[in-house]
Amino acid sequence: MFGFEINWSYVLILPVALGVLVFALVLVWWERRLLGWWQDRLGPNRVGWFGVLQFVADAIKLFTKDDWIPPFGDRFFFVLAPFVVCAAMIMAFVVVPFDEGWVIADTNIAVLWFLAMSSLAVYGVLLGGLASNNKYALLGGLRAAAQMVTYEVFMGLSILGVVMMAGSFSLSDIVMAQADSIWYCIPQCVGLFIFIIAGLAETHRLPFDLPEAEHELTAGYHTEYSGMKFGLIMAAEYVALILLSCMITIMFFGGWLGPSFLPGFVWFGMKVFILINFFILLRAAIPRPRYDQLMSLGWKILLPLSLLNLLATGAVLLLI
């Protein structure tokens, strides 16, 4: 119904979904190791080679933990919320091209699909916060709603410049358009900058982790979650990080493009990995702004900036 028909690429569904989940779990270990290295401490190093099997141990722990559902909360939505978050994030990978033709659904609305799925994930966070019937979770949910609605707006606007230059909403087309010209990180540097900030706000990682804000709201919207439901929320956060890095790679750094001595998906993976490390570095380095400061940054600076970027891109395209 979205204009694509059943084809061989559907065999990719299972490997992509599993691969993304496993990569997200390994990423938990990698982030902890990397932070440990930067912060003069060890990080997990006991399970397996350099602690690489830590995620297995974590998963076993999460699966065997008492799965507590708050009796004072709304049971149905409380259970639903983590699945919504995680499912929406994994669904977004449907449109991600890992190499030329390596995509489950190479649709002409891929960018919109990505935006739609990342918006859907907000529902999970919001429902989790409200269904917990906990004051910290409520505040976290409120913050999540306000923050994500704000950043949703110019997240879309910031990548419209890319769409205009490529002339397509299809991610494969966007990558191919960069093969002929320079990568869009140069002409769309403003868009890239805004997209990174908006993306961080969407993934609510440390500089923008206000919905969780450990030091203010204990754990924010997922205060009441335990066991594998908490595990799903954590996994979703890392899946979102991978997704964000994939999208930046595709739209601004030429996707799978690179010198031909290496296959395209290797180039793609390397770019994504570098971006992920960049985001981990940001988390280690930057403190958390206050909630209203984040809002005013969004509405007063980033939104006009992304509109101006759009205007300038359009003008240049018309002139050329």
Binding site: W38, Q39, R41, L139, H215, A284, A285, R288, P289, R290
Partner: protein
């Protein structure tokens, strides 16, 4: 053979001034410390205090301490008015560098006195504490309820008839019913604090922040009245860390209480020993050799650095910066390894002794100390770039939780938190003790008194403390590390096997501990978080009759509502982070 070591207090004209105004009921008492102590009748207390605060020749801006003494079992009360419970007020005038202690005699049958909360706002909590501990009723107090003990506690712990040891009580049993009652009594009821549950436009949310919360640095509860995320009113609740330090002082010998003092500000280590042992030395008339004094300064400053480093790291962490705390803990660890090499202990070495320190410095201490002093300054510059100069951190903390010097004094704020408002009062400079006048160091101040400035002052204090430590290491005097006075603990042993007299004294001083002549004395030091003091009363025994511990964190927490109302929850976290308190220091 123990002659009283009291001496006449400095002849302050304020004493005769009070005597002319309030008649002969104003009796001066002689204490070891240089602060004039005046007994005042109960009827006059409000007049006297408001006179001293606003109208006297030298204005006493700060109510430094307020508590009480159960005098009923005390034998040595020469020339003091008849009293069963004495309330005392320690006032300070920073502008003219003066103190005065006002005492009011009360009888057990009529145990009440007017509140002075209107004159000195910080009296609010001190009066609640005196009510909690002694059962003294303060007439007109807005909310006189227990503050340190649980709401349903029976008895008043610092009264002499209250048991001090578990062995004096029946075995402890806790029934489910008892637990339910206690928990129910802790429920926060907004109406009890004069709060409404809704205004014309909005229903307020009441949020219990703590007692277990990642950012309250221990067990501390603040009940917040929230309009959205904006704090309308806040009620700090303490007492979850109360161990009865003052009661324990009454059942430990003068010597065996030293380890307890380490735990008062558990980040301050030997810094807490210092006022305690200096106070006893003053009462016993012990001269401490210069080497011991400089060793004490060096160790105390090391703990100041360690405490401030932890403050710095958690401050950055509480505004959401993840990494600095790890670097600062690593540096603190280096410092602890030096402290461990010198004292054998890390956080609580209990290393100072009455009359000196526990041992002489070990071989190789100097290189370790100098190495550290050379290593730290570049680290501090690095941290400045990482944390203090970070724009987000500045935006989170500048203008948040600000107060002026006068407001700070009203609330009993001392130490770095007061110097952040521009006041340069540092006891190490103004009233040098333990040879601080021999050292070359500066007193950092800041202007606006907000959360950011409180951090800046402490960061600069680390640098100054490093200077002091280096001077200690380079100019360490030679000589004994402990006084030869007979009351030092444990007494020196060289001649015990030579003559029977020394052997007997040594035996008594080790087994019973030293006997301190009947006297009263108070010693204040510039501790890590502000001014810490011990006010000890000896009744001529081997244990304190009463030991008052005044700590800087207690009034600082009382001030939180005053500086946080109208801000948002994240600002409250920044304010809490900038106050630099530990709950052990609050509850004692």
């Amino acid at each position: 053979m123990n002659e009283p070591a009291t001496k006449l207090a400095s002849n302050d004209p304020i004493v005769s001034d009070l005597q002319t105004r309030y008649g002969d009921s104003c009796v001066q008492q002689i204490t070891v410390d240089p602060y004039p102590t005046v007994w005042v009748a109960r009827e006059h207390i409000r007049d006297v205090l408001s006179y001293l605060k606003s109208d006297a020749a030298h204005k006493y801006e700060l109510l430094y301490d307020l508590s009480a003494i159960d005098e009923r079992l005390r034998k040595h009360r020469d020339n003091q008015p008849d009293s069963e419970f004495s309330v005392f007020y320690h006032l300070m005038s920073l502008s003219s560098d003066r103190d005065i202690r006002i005492k009011v005699p009360l009888q057990d049958s009529d145990l009440n006195i007017d509140t002075v909360e209107k004159i000195y706002p910080c009296a609010n909590w001190y009066e609640r504490e005196a009510f909690d501990m002694f059962g003294i009723h303060f007439n007109g107090h807005p909310n006189l309820r227990r503050i340190l003990t649980p709401p349903l506690w029976e008895g008043h712990p610092l009264r002499k008839e209250h048991p001090a040891r578990a062995t004096e009580m029946d075995p402890y049993h806790r029934t489910d019913e008892f637990q339910r009652e206690q928990q129910e009594a802790l429920r926060f009821v907004p109406e009890e604090w004069g709060m409404s549950r809704a205004s014309k436009h909005t229903d307020f949310m009441f949020l219990n922040l703590g007692p277990n919360h990642p950012s309250v640095h221990g067990v501390f509860r603040i009940a917040l009245q929230l309009d959205g995320e904006v704090i309308v009113q806040a009620v700090p609740e303490i007492g979850y860390h109360h161990r009865g330090q003052e009661k324990m002082a009454e059942r430990q010998s003068w010597h065996t209480y030293i380890p307890y003092t380490d735990r008062i500000d558990y980040l301050g280590g030997v810094m807490n020993n210092l006022p305690y042992v200096m106070n006893i030395e003053a009462m016993a008339g012990i001269e401490v050799p210069p080497r011991a004094q400089v060793i004490r300064v060096m160790l105390s400053e090391m703990f100041r650095v360690a405490s401030h480093l932890l403050f710095y790291g958690t401050f950055a962490q509480d505004v959401g910066q993840m990494s600095p705390v790890f670097y600062m803990f690593a540096d603190r660890e280096r410092l602890f390894s030096i402290i461990e090499a010198i004292t054998g202990g890390r956080m609580h070495p209990s290393w100072f002794r009455i009359g000196g320190v526990c041992q002489d410095l070990p071989d190789g201490w100097k290189e370790m100390v100098i190495d550290f002093c050379d290593y730290m300054p570049s680290r501090m510059d690095h941290y400045d770039k990482m944390a203090l100069q970070n724009k987000i951190l500045q935006r989170r903390t500048k203008g948040i939780g600000a107060y002026t010097t006068a407001e700070g004094l009203d609330w009993g704020i001392t130490g770095p938190s007061l110097r952040a408002t521009g006041n340069d009062w540092d006891l190490r400079k103004k009233r040098p003790y333990s040879m601080y006048d021999e050292f070359d160091f500066e007193i950092p101040t800041a202007e606006s008194g907000d959360s950011f400035d409180r951090c800046v002052v402490r960061v600069e204090e680390i640098r100054q403390s490093l200077r002091i430590i280096k001077q200690c290491a380079e100019n360490m005097p030679s000589g004994p590390y402990k006084s030869e006075h007979r009351s030092t603990t444990p007494p020196l042993k060289e001649r015990t096997m030579k003559d029977i007299e020394t052997l007997i004294h040594h035996f008594l001083n080790v087994s019973w501990g030293p006997v301190i002549p009947p006297s009263e004395s108070e010693t204040i030091v510039e501790a890590t978080k502000g001014w810490t003091s011990f006010y000890s009363i000896s009744d001529g025994g081997t244990m304190a009759y009463r030991s008052r511990v005044r700590t800087p964190s207690f009034p600082a927490l009382q001030q939180i509502p005053f500086i946080s109302n109208g801000f948002m929850v994240p600002d409250l976290i920044a304010i809490i982070a900038s106050i630099d308190f530990v709950m052990a220091d609050v509850d004692r």
